[in-house]
Amino acid sequence: MMAKKKDEIEYVKNGKRVDGRKVDELRPLKIEVGVIDRADGSAYVEWGQNKVLAAVYGPREALPKHIQNPYKALVNCQYRMATFSVPDRKNPRPGRREIEISKVCSEALAKSIFIERFPNTKIDVFVQILDSNAGTRVAGLIAASVALADAGIPMRDLVAATGVGKAGGEIILDLNKEEEDAPDAVDIPLAILPGTEEIVLLQMDGLLTKEEWKKSIELGIKGCKQVYEVQKEALRKKYGEAEKETAKAREPSAKETKPKKEEKVN
Protein backbone atom coordinates (compact mmCIF):
# COMPACT_ATOMS: atom_id res chain seq x y z
CA MET A 1 0.00 0.00 0.00
CA MET A 2 2.82 2.38 0.87
CA ALA A 3 4.47 1.61 -2.44
CA LYS A 4 1.65 3.08 -4.49
CA LYS A 5 1.42 6.84 -4.69
CA LYS A 6 -1.85 8.38 -3.63
CA ASP A 7 -2.62 9.86 -7.01
CA GLU A 8 -2.17 6.49 -8.69
CA ILE A 9 -4.72 4.71 -6.53
CA GLU A 10 -8.06 3.84 -8.10
CA TYR A 11 -10.37 4.46 -5.21
CA VAL A 12 -13.28 2.65 -6.86
CA LYS A 13 -12.53 -0.14 -9.28
CA ASN A 14 -15.22 -2.39 -10.69
CA GLY A 15 -17.62 -1.01 -8.11
CA LYS A 16 -15.29 -1.98 -5.26
CA ARG A 17 -13.42 0.36 -2.96
CA VAL A 18 -9.89 -0.10 -1.62
CA ASP A 19 -11.20 -2.19 1.27
CA GLY A 20 -13.62 -4.12 -0.90
CA ARG A 21 -16.75 -2.19 0.07
CA LYS A 22 -19.36 -0.89 -2.35
CA VAL A 23 -19.71 2.89 -2.70
CA ASP A 24 -22.79 2.95 -0.48
CA GLU A 25 -21.59 0.42 2.07
CA LEU A 26 -20.78 1.19 5.68
CA ARG A 27 -17.84 -0.39 7.44
CA PRO A 28 -18.90 -3.11 9.91
CA LEU A 29 -20.77 -1.47 12.77
CA LYS A 30 -21.36 -2.98 16.20
CA ILE A 31 -23.06 -1.26 19.12
CA GLU A 32 -23.28 -2.46 22.71
CA VAL A 33 -25.48 -0.71 25.27
CA GLY A 34 -24.85 -0.28 28.98
CA VAL A 35 -21.15 -1.00 29.29
CA ILE A 36 -20.21 1.37 32.13
CA ASP A 37 -21.69 0.47 35.46
CA ARG A 38 -21.26 3.83 37.20
CA ALA A 39 -22.72 5.86 34.36
CA ASP A 40 -26.40 6.69 34.01
CA GLY A 41 -26.17 5.46 30.44
CA SER A 42 -23.41 4.18 28.21
CA ALA A 43 -22.56 2.57 24.92
CA TYR A 44 -19.64 1.04 23.11
CA VAL A 45 -19.29 1.34 19.34
CA GLU A 46 -16.98 -0.48 16.96
CA TRP A 47 -17.16 0.96 13.48
CA GLY A 48 -14.46 -0.39 11.23
CA GLN A 49 -11.29 0.12 13.20
CA ASN A 50 -12.84 2.91 15.26
CA LYS A 51 -13.54 1.99 18.86
CA VAL A 52 -15.54 4.38 20.95
CA LEU A 53 -16.92 4.49 24.43
CA ALA A 54 -19.61 6.93 25.54
CA ALA A 55 -21.07 7.59 28.98
CA VAL A 56 -23.84 9.86 30.17
CA TYR A 57 -24.07 11.44 33.62
CA GLY A 58 -27.16 13.44 34.39
CA PRO A 59 -29.32 15.34 34.23
CA ARG A 60 -27.55 16.68 37.32
CA GLU A 61 -27.32 20.10 38.90
CA ALA A 62 -25.31 22.49 36.75
CA LEU A 63 -22.54 24.04 38.81
CA PRO A 64 -21.34 26.71 39.37
CA LYS A 65 -24.85 28.17 39.58
CA HIS A 66 -24.21 31.00 37.14
CA ILE A 67 -23.99 28.54 34.23
CA GLN A 68 -27.51 27.26 34.88
CA ASN A 69 -30.20 27.94 32.33
CA PRO A 70 -33.66 28.25 33.87
CA TYR A 71 -35.32 27.14 30.63
CA LYS A 72 -33.34 24.07 29.69
CA ALA A 73 -30.63 21.55 30.44
CA LEU A 74 -27.11 22.21 29.24
CA VAL A 75 -25.75 19.44 27.07
CA ASN A 76 -22.04 19.10 27.56
CA CYS A 77 -20.52 16.55 25.23
CA GLN A 78 -16.78 16.07 25.65
CA TYR A 79 -15.05 14.21 22.83
CA ARG A 80 -11.53 13.00 23.58
CA MET A 81 -9.03 10.81 21.81
CA ALA A 82 -6.82 8.47 23.81
CA THR A 83 -3.15 9.28 23.35
CA PHE A 84 -2.62 5.89 21.74
CA SER A 85 -5.59 6.07 19.36
CA VAL A 86 -3.63 7.92 16.67
CA PRO A 87 -0.42 6.98 14.81
CA ASP A 88 1.70 9.62 16.58
CA ARG A 89 0.97 9.86 20.29
CA LYS A 90 -1.59 12.57 20.93
CA ASN A 91 -0.81 15.16 23.55
CA PRO A 92 -2.95 14.23 26.58
CA ARG A 93 -4.33 17.76 26.82
CA PRO A 94 -7.48 18.35 24.74
CA GLY A 95 -6.59 20.02 21.46
CA ARG A 96 -8.51 22.65 19.51
CA ARG A 97 -9.90 19.97 17.18
CA GLU A 98 -11.35 18.04 20.13
CA ILE A 99 -12.88 21.21 21.56
CA GLU A 100 -14.57 22.10 18.28
CA ILE A 101 -15.91 18.57 17.81
CA SER A 102 -17.19 18.58 21.39
CA LYS A 103 -19.08 21.79 20.64
CA VAL A 104 -20.81 20.67 17.44
CA CYS A 105 -21.65 17.27 18.95
CA SER A 106 -23.14 18.94 22.05
CA GLU A 107 -25.32 21.05 19.78
CA ALA A 108 -26.42 18.09 17.66
CA LEU A 109 -27.34 16.03 20.72
CA ALA A 110 -29.17 18.94 22.35
CA LYS A 111 -31.60 19.06 19.44
CA SER A 112 -32.49 15.41 20.03
CA ILE A 113 -33.25 15.81 23.75
CA PHE A 114 -36.26 17.38 25.44
CA ILE A 115 -33.85 19.72 27.22
CA GLU A 116 -36.64 22.07 28.23
CA ARG A 117 -37.85 19.47 30.70
CA PHE A 118 -34.70 19.74 32.82
CA PRO A 119 -34.09 23.38 33.63
CA ASN A 120 -30.98 24.31 35.64
CA THR A 121 -29.34 20.94 35.02
CA LYS A 122 -26.59 19.70 32.81
CA ILE A 123 -26.28 16.45 30.98
CA ASP A 124 -22.66 15.35 30.65
CA VAL A 125 -21.80 13.10 27.74
CA PHE A 126 -18.26 11.77 27.65
CA VAL A 127 -16.92 10.25 24.46
CA GLN A 128 -13.59 8.48 24.40
CA ILE A 129 -11.91 7.27 21.22
CA LEU A 130 -9.79 4.19 21.90
CA ASP A 131 -8.80 3.42 18.31
CA SER A 132 -9.29 5.49 15.20
CA ASN A 133 -9.43 5.26 11.44
CA ALA A 134 -11.46 8.16 10.00
CA GLY A 135 -14.96 9.02 11.13
CA THR A 136 -14.44 9.08 14.89
CA ARG A 137 -16.71 12.07 15.47
CA VAL A 138 -19.73 10.39 13.90
CA ALA A 139 -18.89 7.16 15.70
CA GLY A 140 -18.73 9.14 18.93
CA LEU A 141 -22.00 10.85 18.20
CA ILE A 142 -23.99 7.68 17.59
CA ALA A 143 -22.47 6.13 20.72
CA ALA A 144 -23.41 9.24 22.69
CA SER A 145 -26.98 9.19 21.42
CA VAL A 146 -27.44 5.54 22.34
CA ALA A 147 -25.91 6.26 25.76
CA LEU A 148 -28.44 9.07 26.27
CA ALA A 149 -31.23 6.66 25.44
CA ASP A 150 -29.71 4.14 27.84
CA ALA A 151 -29.73 6.84 30.53
CA GLY A 152 -33.48 7.10 30.06
CA ILE A 153 -33.33 10.71 28.97
CA PRO A 154 -36.46 11.71 27.04
CA MET A 155 -35.53 12.26 23.40
CA ARG A 156 -37.23 13.37 20.20
CA ASP A 157 -35.28 10.78 18.28
CA LEU A 158 -31.86 9.19 18.22
CA VAL A 159 -29.09 11.05 16.44
CA ALA A 160 -27.88 8.90 13.55
CA ALA A 161 -24.68 9.88 11.82
CA THR A 162 -22.15 8.88 9.23
CA GLY A 163 -19.37 10.24 7.13
CA VAL A 164 -19.84 10.64 3.41
CA GLY A 165 -17.73 12.29 0.74
CA LYS A 166 -15.43 11.97 -2.19
CA ALA A 167 -12.24 10.12 -3.04
CA GLY A 168 -10.74 9.57 -6.48
CA GLY A 169 -13.66 11.45 -8.03
CA GLU A 170 -16.27 9.09 -6.60
CA ILE A 171 -18.94 9.90 -4.06
CA ILE A 172 -18.74 7.25 -1.37
CA LEU A 173 -20.21 6.48 2.02
CA ASP A 174 -18.26 6.29 5.26
CA LEU A 175 -14.69 7.06 4.15
CA ASN A 176 -11.85 5.20 5.78
CA LYS A 177 -8.44 6.74 6.48
CA GLU A 178 -6.94 5.73 3.15
CA GLU A 179 -9.86 7.32 1.30
CA GLU A 180 -9.72 10.41 3.49
CA ASP A 181 -6.09 10.81 2.45
CA ALA A 182 -6.92 10.83 -1.27
CA PRO A 183 -5.58 13.94 -3.00
CA ASP A 184 -9.10 15.11 -3.88
CA ALA A 185 -10.74 13.80 -0.71
CA VAL A 186 -13.81 15.50 0.68
CA ASP A 187 -15.07 14.53 4.10
CA ILE A 188 -18.63 15.34 5.19
CA PRO A 189 -19.59 14.38 8.73
CA LEU A 190 -23.38 14.31 8.79
CA ALA A 191 -25.89 13.68 11.55
CA ILE A 192 -29.66 13.66 11.33
CA LEU A 193 -32.74 12.92 13.34
CA PRO A 194 -33.86 10.03 11.14
CA GLY A 195 -37.58 10.44 11.76
CA THR A 196 -37.71 13.91 10.21
CA GLU A 197 -34.41 13.91 8.33
CA GLU A 198 -33.53 17.14 10.10
CA ILE A 199 -29.81 17.82 9.80
CA VAL A 200 -28.29 18.41 13.24
CA LEU A 201 -24.59 18.17 12.36
CA LEU A 202 -22.98 19.01 9.07
CA GLN A 203 -19.40 19.86 8.33
CA MET A 204 -17.38 19.62 5.16
CA ASP A 205 -13.77 19.86 4.06
CA GLY A 206 -12.52 19.83 0.48
CA LEU A 207 -13.52 20.89 -3.00
CA LEU A 208 -16.99 19.80 -4.05
CA THR A 209 -19.35 20.90 -6.81
CA LYS A 210 -23.05 21.45 -6.21
CA GLU A 211 -23.84 18.25 -8.12
CA GLU A 212 -21.40 16.26 -6.01
CA TRP A 213 -22.96 17.73 -2.91
CA LYS A 214 -26.42 16.57 -3.97
CA LYS A 215 -25.16 13.02 -4.51
CA SER A 216 -23.35 13.14 -1.20
CA ILE A 217 -26.27 14.26 0.91
CA GLU A 218 -28.49 11.65 -0.74
CA LEU A 219 -26.00 8.92 0.06
CA GLY A 220 -25.32 10.32 3.52
CA ILE A 221 -28.94 10.27 4.58
CA LYS A 222 -29.28 6.71 3.35
CA GLY A 223 -26.20 5.85 5.40
CA CYS A 224 -27.56 7.52 8.52
CA LYS A 225 -30.70 5.43 8.24
CA GLN A 226 -28.67 2.23 8.07
CA VAL A 227 -26.82 3.34 11.19
CA TYR A 228 -30.15 4.13 12.85
CA GLU A 229 -31.28 0.55 12.42
CA VAL A 230 -28.14 -0.72 14.17
CA GLN A 231 -28.67 1.77 17.00
CA LYS A 232 -32.26 0.69 17.51
CA GLU A 233 -31.32 -2.97 17.35
CA ALA A 234 -28.69 -2.47 20.06
CA LEU A 235 -31.20 -0.77 22.34
CA ARG A 236 -33.79 -3.40 21.60
CA LYS A 237 -31.31 -6.07 22.59
CA LYS A 238 -30.97 -4.53 26.03
CA TYR A 239 -34.43 -3.12 26.56
CA GLY A 240 -36.68 -5.17 24.31
CA GLU A 241 -36.44 -8.26 26.43
CA ALA A 242 -36.23 -6.36 29.68
CA GLU A 243 -39.43 -4.61 28.80
CA LYS A 244 -41.14 -7.81 27.95
CA GLU A 245 -40.22 -9.09 31.39
CA THR A 246 -41.25 -5.86 33.01
CA ALA A 247 -44.54 -6.04 31.22
CA LYS A 248 -45.11 -9.48 32.57
CA ALA A 249 -44.18 -8.65 36.15
CA ARG A 250 -45.81 -5.28 36.73
CA GLU A 251 -48.84 -4.59 34.70
CA PRO A 252 -50.28 -1.18 34.01
CA SER A 253 -47.68 0.76 35.92
CA ALA A 254 -44.85 -0.26 33.58
CA LYS A 255 -45.36 2.79 31.45
CA GLU A 256 -45.13 5.19 34.31
CA THR A 257 -42.13 3.70 35.99
CA LYS A 258 -40.04 3.85 32.84
CA PRO A 259 -41.67 6.56 30.81
CA LYS A 260 -38.42 7.99 29.57
CA LYS A 261 -37.24 4.77 28.01
CA GLU A 262 -40.21 4.60 25.73
CA GLU A 263 -39.87 7.98 24.25
CA LYS A 264 -36.32 7.65 23.25
CA VAL A 265 -36.40 4.93 20.65
CA ASN A 266 -38.99 6.17 18.31
Binding site: I99, E100, K103, V104, K111, T196, E197, L201, L207, W213
Partner: protein, 259 residues
Protein backbone atom coordinates in the same frame (compact mmCIF):
# COMPACT_ATOMS: atom_id res chain seq x y z
CA UNK B 1 -32.21 45.61 32.40
CA UNK B 2 -29.78 45.13 29.58
CA UNK B 3 -31.21 41.65 29.10
CA UNK B 4 -34.74 43.00 28.84
CA UNK B 5 -33.73 45.38 26.08
CA UNK B 6 -32.04 42.59 24.16
CA UNK B 7 -35.09 40.38 24.59
CA UNK B 8 -37.27 43.09 23.12
CA UNK B 9 -34.88 43.54 20.23
CA UNK B 10 -34.85 39.82 19.58
CA UNK B 11 -38.64 39.71 19.64
CA UNK B 12 -38.97 42.46 17.10
CA UNK B 13 -36.28 40.91 14.87
CA UNK B 14 -38.17 37.60 14.88
CA UNK B 15 -41.47 39.31 14.20
CA UNK B 16 -40.04 41.18 11.23
CA UNK B 17 -38.31 38.12 9.79
CA UNK B 18 -41.59 36.23 9.89
CA UNK B 19 -42.83 38.94 7.54
CA UNK B 20 -39.73 38.56 5.37
CA UNK B 21 -38.21 41.81 6.66
CA UNK B 22 -35.20 42.74 8.80
CA UNK B 23 -34.64 45.42 11.42
CA UNK B 24 -32.10 47.23 9.31
CA UNK B 25 -34.23 47.06 6.19
CA UNK B 26 -32.12 44.49 4.37
CA UNK B 27 -33.51 41.67 2.28
CA UNK B 28 -33.13 38.24 3.88
CA UNK B 29 -30.34 37.36 1.46
CA UNK B 30 -28.58 40.72 1.56
CA UNK B 31 -25.25 41.50 3.19
CA UNK B 32 -24.56 44.60 5.20
CA UNK B 33 -22.13 47.12 3.72
CA UNK B 34 -18.65 45.68 3.52
CA UNK B 35 -15.80 48.12 4.02
CA UNK B 36 -12.17 47.00 3.90
CA UNK B 37 -9.15 49.03 4.99
CA UNK B 38 -5.92 47.41 3.96
CA UNK B 39 -2.37 47.80 5.22
CA UNK B 40 -3.23 48.96 8.69
CA UNK B 41 0.00 47.60 10.22
CA UNK B 42 3.46 48.15 8.78
CA UNK B 43 4.92 45.47 11.00
CA UNK B 44 2.57 42.79 9.75
CA UNK B 45 3.37 41.17 6.42
CA UNK B 46 -0.25 41.85 5.49
CA UNK B 47 -3.21 43.33 7.33
CA UNK B 48 -6.78 44.53 6.99
CA UNK B 49 -9.65 45.86 9.02
CA UNK B 50 -13.07 44.79 7.82
CA UNK B 51 -16.31 46.51 8.72
CA UNK B 52 -19.40 44.46 8.05
CA UNK B 53 -22.02 46.98 9.03
CA UNK B 54 -20.99 47.78 12.60
CA UNK B 55 -19.15 44.50 13.06
CA UNK B 56 -15.44 45.13 12.90
CA UNK B 57 -12.50 42.76 12.91
CA UNK B 58 -8.80 43.11 12.17
CA UNK B 59 -6.50 40.54 10.59
CA UNK B 60 -2.73 40.52 10.34
CA UNK B 61 -0.30 38.03 8.87
CA UNK B 62 3.20 37.11 9.93
CA UNK B 63 5.48 34.89 7.84
CA UNK B 64 7.55 32.75 10.18
CA UNK B 65 10.37 30.34 9.36
CA UNK B 66 9.75 26.80 10.51
CA UNK B 67 10.66 23.20 9.83
CA UNK B 68 8.36 21.01 7.73
CA UNK B 69 6.21 18.23 9.16
CA UNK B 70 7.86 14.80 8.81
CA UNK B 71 5.18 13.64 6.36
CA UNK B 72 5.27 16.71 4.09
CA UNK B 73 8.89 17.68 3.76
CA UNK B 74 8.30 19.98 0.82
CA UNK B 75 5.40 21.95 2.24
CA UNK B 76 4.85 24.91 4.50
CA UNK B 77 1.57 25.57 6.21
CA UNK B 78 -0.90 28.18 7.37
CA UNK B 79 -2.46 28.77 10.76
CA UNK B 80 -5.51 30.92 11.34
CA UNK B 81 -6.39 32.05 14.83
CA UNK B 82 -9.21 34.28 16.05
CA UNK B 83 -9.66 35.76 19.48
CA UNK B 84 -12.94 37.05 20.86
CA UNK B 85 -11.09 40.07 22.15
CA UNK B 86 -12.96 41.83 24.99
CA UNK B 87 -12.44 45.20 23.37
CA UNK B 88 -15.31 44.21 21.06
CA UNK B 89 -18.11 43.37 23.44
CA UNK B 90 -19.14 43.58 27.09
CA UNK B 91 -19.68 39.83 27.04
CA UNK B 92 -16.19 38.77 25.96
CA UNK B 93 -13.51 38.06 28.53
CA UNK B 94 -9.77 37.48 28.55
CA UNK B 95 -8.62 33.98 29.27
CA UNK B 96 -7.77 30.78 27.45
CA UNK B 97 -9.73 30.55 24.19
CA UNK B 98 -13.18 29.10 24.66
CA UNK B 99 -15.05 26.77 22.32
CA UNK B 100 -16.73 29.66 20.45
CA UNK B 101 -13.40 31.32 19.57
CA UNK B 102 -11.87 27.99 18.63
CA UNK B 103 -14.79 27.17 16.33
CA UNK B 104 -14.54 30.63 14.72
CA UNK B 105 -10.80 30.16 14.15
CA UNK B 106 -11.11 26.70 12.74
CA UNK B 107 -14.01 27.46 10.43
CA UNK B 108 -12.20 30.45 8.91
CA UNK B 109 -9.03 28.36 8.71
CA UNK B 110 -10.77 25.51 6.91
CA UNK B 111 -12.53 27.86 4.55
CA UNK B 112 -9.13 29.03 3.32
CA UNK B 113 -7.14 25.83 3.67
CA UNK B 114 -9.62 23.51 1.95
CA UNK B 115 -10.03 25.84 -1.02
CA UNK B 116 -6.46 24.88 -1.92
CA UNK B 117 -5.98 28.51 -2.90
CA UNK B 118 -2.54 28.34 -1.35
CA UNK B 119 -0.21 25.68 -2.67
CA UNK B 120 1.67 24.64 0.43
CA UNK B 121 4.60 23.68 -1.80
CA UNK B 122 4.99 27.36 -2.63
CA UNK B 123 5.78 27.82 1.07
CA UNK B 124 8.78 25.50 0.98
CA UNK B 125 12.17 27.22 1.16
CA UNK B 126 14.50 24.23 1.45
CA UNK B 127 12.95 20.79 1.25
CA UNK B 128 13.10 18.93 4.52
CA UNK B 129 14.67 21.87 6.27
CA UNK B 130 12.95 25.20 6.09
CA UNK B 131 9.44 26.28 5.21
CA UNK B 132 7.13 29.22 5.74
CA UNK B 133 4.35 29.16 8.28
CA UNK B 134 1.76 31.78 7.46
CA UNK B 135 0.15 32.96 10.67
CA UNK B 136 -3.12 34.81 10.21
CA UNK B 137 -4.36 36.29 13.46
CA UNK B 138 -7.74 37.90 13.89
CA UNK B 139 -8.88 40.20 16.68
CA UNK B 140 -12.48 41.20 17.12
CA UNK B 141 -12.94 44.95 17.48
CA UNK B 142 -16.70 45.50 17.60
CA UNK B 143 -19.37 42.87 17.83
CA UNK B 144 -22.52 43.33 15.84
CA UNK B 145 -22.77 39.73 14.75
CA UNK B 146 -21.28 37.44 12.10
CA UNK B 147 -17.57 37.44 12.89
CA UNK B 148 -17.43 34.34 10.69
CA UNK B 149 -17.88 36.22 7.43
CA UNK B 150 -16.20 39.43 8.55
CA UNK B 151 -13.24 37.38 9.75
CA UNK B 152 -13.10 35.38 6.55
CA UNK B 153 -12.98 38.55 4.45
CA UNK B 154 -10.39 40.12 6.76
CA UNK B 155 -8.19 37.02 6.69
CA UNK B 156 -8.39 36.84 2.91
CA UNK B 157 -7.71 40.59 2.50
CA UNK B 158 -4.68 40.40 4.77
CA UNK B 159 -3.35 37.38 2.92
CA UNK B 160 -3.86 39.01 -0.46
CA UNK B 161 -1.49 41.81 0.50
CA UNK B 162 1.02 39.59 2.32
CA UNK B 163 4.64 40.10 1.34
CA UNK B 164 7.14 37.26 1.65
CA UNK B 165 10.29 38.35 3.51
CA UNK B 166 13.63 37.82 1.84
CA UNK B 167 15.62 34.93 3.29
CA UNK B 168 19.40 34.77 3.28
CA UNK B 169 21.43 32.02 4.93
CA UNK B 170 18.27 30.65 6.48
CA UNK B 171 17.43 33.97 8.16
CA UNK B 172 14.89 36.67 7.41
CA UNK B 173 16.35 39.92 6.08
CA UNK B 174 14.33 42.57 7.81
CA UNK B 175 12.27 44.95 5.71
CA UNK B 176 13.20 43.26 2.45
CA UNK B 177 10.79 41.09 0.51
CA UNK B 178 11.11 38.49 -2.19
CA UNK B 179 7.55 38.65 -3.47
CA UNK B 180 3.96 38.21 -2.49
CA UNK B 181 1.99 35.31 -1.12
CA UNK B 182 0.29 33.52 -4.02
CA UNK B 183 -3.41 32.75 -3.77
CA UNK B 184 -4.96 30.98 -6.73
CA UNK B 185 -8.52 31.50 -5.45
CA UNK B 186 -10.49 33.81 -3.21
CA UNK B 187 -12.40 31.56 -0.83
CA UNK B 188 -15.29 33.25 0.97
CA UNK B 189 -17.48 32.23 3.84
CA UNK B 190 -21.22 32.98 3.84
CA UNK B 191 -23.02 32.51 7.09
CA UNK B 192 -26.76 32.00 7.50
CA UNK B 193 -29.03 32.12 10.49
CA UNK B 194 -32.24 30.16 10.70
CA UNK B 195 -34.80 32.30 12.48
CA UNK B 196 -38.47 31.47 12.67
CA UNK B 197 -37.93 28.89 9.94
CA UNK B 198 -36.52 31.49 7.57
CA UNK B 199 -32.98 31.74 6.35
CA UNK B 200 -31.18 35.08 6.62
CA UNK B 201 -27.65 35.83 5.50
CA UNK B 202 -25.09 37.83 7.50
CA UNK B 203 -26.97 37.96 10.81
CA UNK B 204 -26.49 40.91 13.13
CA UNK B 205 -25.94 40.38 16.84
CA UNK B 206 -29.68 40.61 17.52
CA UNK B 207 -30.35 38.07 14.81
CA UNK B 208 -27.68 35.78 16.24
CA UNK B 209 -29.44 35.92 19.57
CA UNK B 210 -32.69 35.03 17.76
CA UNK B 211 -31.30 32.19 15.66
CA UNK B 212 -32.17 28.54 16.11
CA UNK B 213 -29.31 27.32 14.00
CA UNK B 214 -26.38 28.64 12.03
CA UNK B 215 -24.89 27.42 8.78
CA UNK B 216 -21.69 28.58 7.10
CA UNK B 217 -20.76 27.76 3.53
CA UNK B 218 -17.36 28.47 2.09
CA UNK B 219 -17.11 28.76 -1.67
CA UNK B 220 -13.64 28.43 -3.14
CA UNK B 221 -14.68 29.99 -6.42
CA UNK B 222 -17.88 30.32 -8.44
CA UNK B 223 -18.14 26.56 -8.90
CA UNK B 224 -16.74 24.87 -5.83
CA UNK B 225 -17.84 24.55 -2.27
CA UNK B 226 -14.93 23.97 0.08
CA UNK B 227 -16.25 23.99 3.66
CA UNK B 228 -19.44 23.74 5.67
CA UNK B 229 -20.14 24.29 9.33
CA UNK B 230 -23.49 23.84 10.96
CA UNK B 231 -23.71 25.35 14.44
CA UNK B 232 -26.10 25.91 17.34
CA UNK B 233 -28.81 23.64 18.70
CA UNK B 234 -31.33 23.86 15.89
CA UNK B 235 -31.54 21.85 12.68
CA UNK B 236 -31.74 22.43 8.94
CA UNK B 237 -33.73 20.62 6.29
CA UNK B 238 -32.02 19.52 3.10
CA UNK B 239 -33.81 22.19 1.11
CA UNK B 240 -32.72 24.89 3.55
CA UNK B 241 -29.13 23.76 3.13
CA UNK B 242 -29.52 23.86 -0.63
CA UNK B 243 -30.98 27.35 -0.40
CA UNK B 244 -27.96 28.48 1.64
CA UNK B 245 -25.60 26.98 -0.94
CA UNK B 246 -27.32 28.80 -3.79
CA UNK B 247 -27.13 32.14 -2.03
CA UNK B 248 -23.53 31.52 -0.94
CA UNK B 249 -22.45 31.05 -4.55
CA UNK B 250 -24.31 34.18 -5.60
CA UNK B 251 -23.05 36.45 -2.83
CA UNK B 252 -19.59 34.91 -2.93
CA UNK B 253 -19.32 35.78 -6.60
CA UNK B 254 -20.32 39.40 -5.95
CA UNK B 255 -17.97 39.92 -3.04
CA UNK B 256 -15.11 38.12 -4.79
CA UNK B 257 -15.19 40.70 -7.55
CA UNK B 258 -14.60 43.53 -5.13
CA UNK B 259 -11.45 42.00 -3.56
Amino acid sequence: MDDVIWDLRVDSAVKLIKEGKRIDGRALDEYRKIDIQNHISETAEGSAIVNLGKTRIVAGTKMILGTPYPDSQDQGTISVGAELFPIASPSFEFGPPKAAAIELSRVIDRGIRESKSIDFKDLCITEGEQVWIVFVDLYTMNDDGNFFDAGSIAALSAMLETKIPKVEDGKIVKKEYSGKLKLSKKPLLCTFAKIANKIVIDPTLVEEKAQDARFSVSTADDKHLCAFQKGEQGSFTRSEIDECIEIAFKRGKEIRKTL
